[in-house]
């Protein structure tokens, strides 16, 4: 039998809760996550939903999962493979077993492993009993029976009772990881505030599970994951889409602008629209537009009107916005475009993750139409980059594309709650002088932004539009030299944003054989790989991760210079590497590309780096 991966000295662990869509696995995961937060752990979570809205019950296609990695050390990913797999039915086992480490533990509701359910998952015999799982530790718990038992005098019908059996499973996990039930109970009480019978039912099931574990001898030692060394403060768990929405709200308030969010729903960006729609109490103006083109053009109208204007979308929508973004570029209006990337060209794999909209963001407009491109890299820093995108858009009167993706959108990690007071100021570029001294395309000599004067401001009446503008006056002109000048000015304006953004930092070796380069959502996997490699005494590897893409941070070349080789890792066919070749052709770039609709696994990155290192030494 394989060694048990669970042991009292482990500093981090990965649990995956999985069951039928109706089994409440997301809630279960949320509660456990929350208690991990309380325990002072760092953590990262990722859900895994079925592609269909509601796949047939009990089928592998209908399995819904939630994975969390938590630890006494910094945690950057939800984990490649899991230590504990909770399965509420055979389909969940079937679908998720590949994620379980050899020597990991399966907690299974064996009441649900009926002949019928086994068949739905294409099992001929019961895997809990047929010894096919010998490499794992199995905890078979009659969760359904014992939950029913615990709830029997509450007067609930069978369906309602069964909806609490996820809490039974959670109780077992709480026991395993020595977690106080109090946290979970608090959570349940908040969640079902107005439904005391549900609070009671869930509490009882939870305790029943906990007690089952406590009184059953089959367990190994229970585990205590120590607290991580996190900065002091108040935390909450946050997913990327909520973080983006909140970043927008914060930026609106700080800039004293109303927020206009004009969007058309699309997976996986819709939640940003949902969250802001629910936040009308902060004065947010939301337009669910008739299509993506209406969304972006309405946002342009709102930007001209003087609002902080945003449109959120995913790849197909970004493509549709191409033409209008050209207008925003030449009109030089502040506009934030949030693109939550999904996988594939066209409709592709709409629920999967990928980083393949970078080309579209950088180059996807006719004519010379430069704008700012940036990317968030963790669910919680989606807040920061959302805020920064607004700040840059406003201060530089430019459209900004912020890239996120499915992985960040649905994943979550702890966010140290920001203090609104301490967020960086946003300086709206109003023209401070008299109207007579102002011209519509006059620029700030430093950053080259226009001034943002809007209807309602007396004396600043002016027209903007898509035709080429005369320098300063903004009048129409076909003069050849003016067009070249304006084209260069628009480019230079974007380049100068680099003066305002932080320089690239290097993790690991500050110089050496290999610099690993990542951007956007791959941070967690790459960073973990680098940390592990460092621990394994690979001192010749550095790592730099990009959040600002266009323009690149000013020190990029000097960072690259310190390494003999550069390996660019990304979830596409090489778009960032290609961009680097254009921007910094003096370097050559090794590439690691994965195009599978999946995030990188830490192990993949490690292997690739080790392979590259080996290749290098062979070459020597």
């Amino acid at each position: 039998m394989a060694e048990n991966v669970l042991n009292p000295t482990m500093r981090k662990a990965v649990i995956r809760f999985s069951g039928d869509s109706g089994d409440g696995m997301q809630l279960t995961g949320d509660i456990f996550t929350q208690s991990s937060g309380y325990a002072g752990n760092d953590l990262t979570t990722i859900p895994d939903f079925p592609a269909e809205i509601r796949a047939p019950q009990g089928s592998v296609g209908g399995v819904s999962s939630f994975q969390v990695q938590f630890g006494g050390t910094e945690i950057y990913t939800p984990g490649d493979k899991v230590d504990v797999l909770v399965v509420m039915n055979p389909a969940a086992l079937k679908g998720n077993l590949p994620y379980l480490k050899i020597g990991g533990t399966i907690i299974a509701d064996n009441d649900n492993f009926s002949r019928k359910n086994l068949k739905k998952a294409d099992y001929v015999t019961n895997p809990l009993e047929d010894r096919s799982l010998e490499d794992y530790y199995i905890i078979s718990a009659p969760a359904s029976t014992l939950t029913r038992e615990a709830l029997k005098d509450l007067g609930l019908d069978m369906n309602s009772m069964m909806r609490s059996k996820n809490m039974f499973a959670l109780g077992i996990v709480f026991y395993m990881f020595t977690r106080p039930l109090k946290n979970a109970v608090n959570f349940i009480q908040k969640k079902f505030e107005n439904k005391p019978e549900l609070v009671e039912a869930n509490k009882r099931a939870l305790k029943a599970g906990f007690n089952f574990a406590d009184t059953t001898e089959i367990f190994g030692p229970s585990v205590v994951i120590p607290p991580a060394d996190l900065p002091k403060g108040k935390y909450r768990n946050i997913d990327g889409n909520t973080a983006i929405a909140w970043g927008l709200l914060a930026a609106a308030q700080k800039s004293k602008k109303s927020l206009s969010l004009c969007s058309y729903p699309i997976t996986p960006a819709s939640e940003i629209l949902h969250e802001v729609s629910a936040r009308k109490d902060f004065g947010s103006i939301v337009l669910q537009a008739e299509d993506e083109i209406a969304a972006v053009t309405a946002a342009i109208g709102a930007a001209f009107a003087g609002n902080l204007s945003v449109t959120s979308t995913s790849g197909p929508g970004l493509s549709l916005k191409s033409e209008a973004l050209g207008l925003a570029v030449i009109a030089e209006l502040p506009l934030v475009v949030v693109d939550v990337q999904r996988a594939g060209p066209s409709t592709g794999l709409p629920t999967k993750t990928e980083q393949s909209d970078l080309n579209q963001a950088l180059f996807g407009r006719h004519g010379e139409a430069p704008l700012v491109v940036m990317a968030a890299s963790t669910p919680s820093n989606c807040f920061d980059f959302s805020y920064q995108a607004c700040k840059i858009a406003i201060e530089h009167t430019t459209p900004v594309i912020l890239l996120s993706d499915t992985y960040l959108a649905s994943g979550s990690n702890p966010w140290k709650i920001q203090d609104m007071e301490k967020l960086p100021e946003i300086n709206v570029p109003y023209f401070k002088g008299k109207a007579e001294d102002w011209m519509p395309y006059q620029r700030d000599p430093e950053s080259l932004n226009r001034y943002w004067m809007s209807p309602g401001m007396k004396g600043f009446e002016h027209r903007i539009g898509g035709l080429e503008k005369e320098e300063n006056t903004g009048n129409l002109t076909y003069l050849p030299e003016n067009h070249e000048k304006m084209t260069k000015l628009r480019e230079e304006k974007i380049r100068r944003v680099a003066r305002k953004i932080p320089g690239q930092k290097i993790a690991g070796a500050q110089q050496g054989d290999l610099l690993v380069v990542g951007w956007g959502s791959t941070f967690g996997a790459i960073n973990t790989a680098i940390l592990e490699l460092l621990e394994e005494d690979h001192y010749n590897i550095g790592y730099t991760h990009f959040n600002y893409i266009k323009p690149l941070p000013e020190n990029t070349a000097s960072v690259f210079e310190n390494f003999d080789n550069i390996l660019v890792c990304e979830l596409n066919n090489g778009q960032f590497a290609n961009y680097l070749k254009m921007e910094l052709p003096q370097f050559s770039y090794l590439q690691y590309n994965k195009i599978q609709g999946q995030p990188f696994f830490t192990s993949e990155i490690k292997n690739r780096i080790l392979n590259e290192l080996q290749g290098l030494s062979y070459a020597n």
């Binding site: 108040k234 909450r236 009308k280 709102a302 001209f304």
Partner: protein, 335 residues
């Protein structure tokens, strides 16, 4: 509140670059004149257009303005009006701009009823790109893209707009400055999306296309001016009238005073659309073309609803501040 504005205040310093004789000149002049009478602060007036000859208009207006991209003016205007509902918002567009590439924004604007005035310069052709079939080009007309004569059934703008839910629709010719002014003032007074179809003459590509309707010789017999509360009579010496026959509008002679009692009396304000559609659809030679305000039915505007929802949310707020929102739900402290 402020010094009185004049037409001149709305003339920008840019050279007007339409073809000599183009109907657009008249529309521009009247818009400038109307703006001077709106009794609004100049800085609160915004003119938004798409692309086309007609859509050049904002450059000639000394107001805030956007010469946006082809077809999108209504969407741009919607975003702008929601962002700042105090702005008096005008959309200037062509038949191609609003009904070809801009068709989706047009019908959704009509549906939503955001408070704005949409002036469509209907020359029944793409002027700026030199003469291709537009969605209002009459069947049979030879154009660059239909050298054998167009075989596409055109939209009737009023019918389409009303079918999509528009609350104000008017039709007027570029040769009728008085009516143009009157209709624009009414559109401005109307809360909601007001669509004005201007029969505009393109001297280059469809010269005279509205002539039978708007020409001095023929117009009396080929137009009926609809006025609220007035019977629908027309013709030289007002000798014809419109009457209902079952569901159909029919044209009848009005010989003696008594005949007038049978004649339809115009009510643009009714919620029902059937008669408005029937009137909007009348075509020569069988019928006179309806001019003036055909429909004008007030109901809450979209911008009012959006801001009412915000106001209500602000009253019943879930979070007293953004900080409060951040700290809501399940949080924990690291000490």
């Amino acid at each position: 509140m402020q010094t009185e504005l004049t037409k001149k205040d709305f003339e920008s310093d840019q050279l007007v670059r339409w073809c000599p004789g183009c109907g657009d000149y008249m529309i521009l002049a009247i818009i400038q004149k109307v703006f001077a009478q709106l009794n609004r602060r100049k800085e609160d007036l915004v003119v938004i257009s798409g692309i086309g000859c007609s859509s050049r208009l904002p450059y000639y207006m000394d107001t805030y303005g956007i010469h946006s991209i082809h077809g999108r003016a209504a969407a741009v205007a919607t975003g702008l009006k929601l962002a700042n509902p105090k702005l008096n918002t005008w959309v200037v567009t062509g038949d191609g701009d609003s009904l070809a590439i801009g068709g989706n924004h047009f019908i959704h604007a009509a549906r939503r009823n955001t408070d704005m005035n949409v002036v469509i310069f209907n020359n029944r052709i793409y002027g700026m790109t030199k003469g291709q079939t537009s969605p209002t080009t009459p069947e049979g007309l030879k154009t660059k893209t239909s050298p054998e004569g167009s075989y596409e059934k055109p939209f009737n703008i009023g019918e389409l707009a009303i079918g999509a839910g528009v609350t104000f629709f008017a039709r007027v010719s570029d040769k009728d400055p008085k009516l143009l002014e009157d209709v624009m003032m009414q559109a401005n007074a109307h809360k909601g999306t007001s669509v004005i179809e201007v029969l505009q003459n393109c001297v280059i590509f469809t010269d005279g296309i509205h002539e039978e309707i708007t020409g001095r010789e023929t117009k009396d017999n080929n137009q009926v001016l609809l006025e609220h509360g007035k019977p629908m009579i027309y013709g030289k010496d007002q000798k014809f009238g419109l009457k209902l026959n079952g569901l159909r509008v029919t044209k009848v002679p009005v010989y003696v005073d008594d005949d007038i009692n049978d004649i339809l009396v115009h009510d643009p304000t009714s919620e029902e659309t059937q008669l408005h559609i029937a009137l909007a659809k009348m075509q020569i030679p069988d019928f006179p073309v309806a001019m003036g305000v055909i429909r004008k039915h007030e109901t809450t505007t979209f911008d009012e609803k959006v801001h009412a929802a915000i106001a209500q949310a602000e009253q019943n707020r879930s979070y007293k501040s953004i900080q409060n929102l951040f700290e809501s739900g399940n949080t924990w402290e690291i000490k």
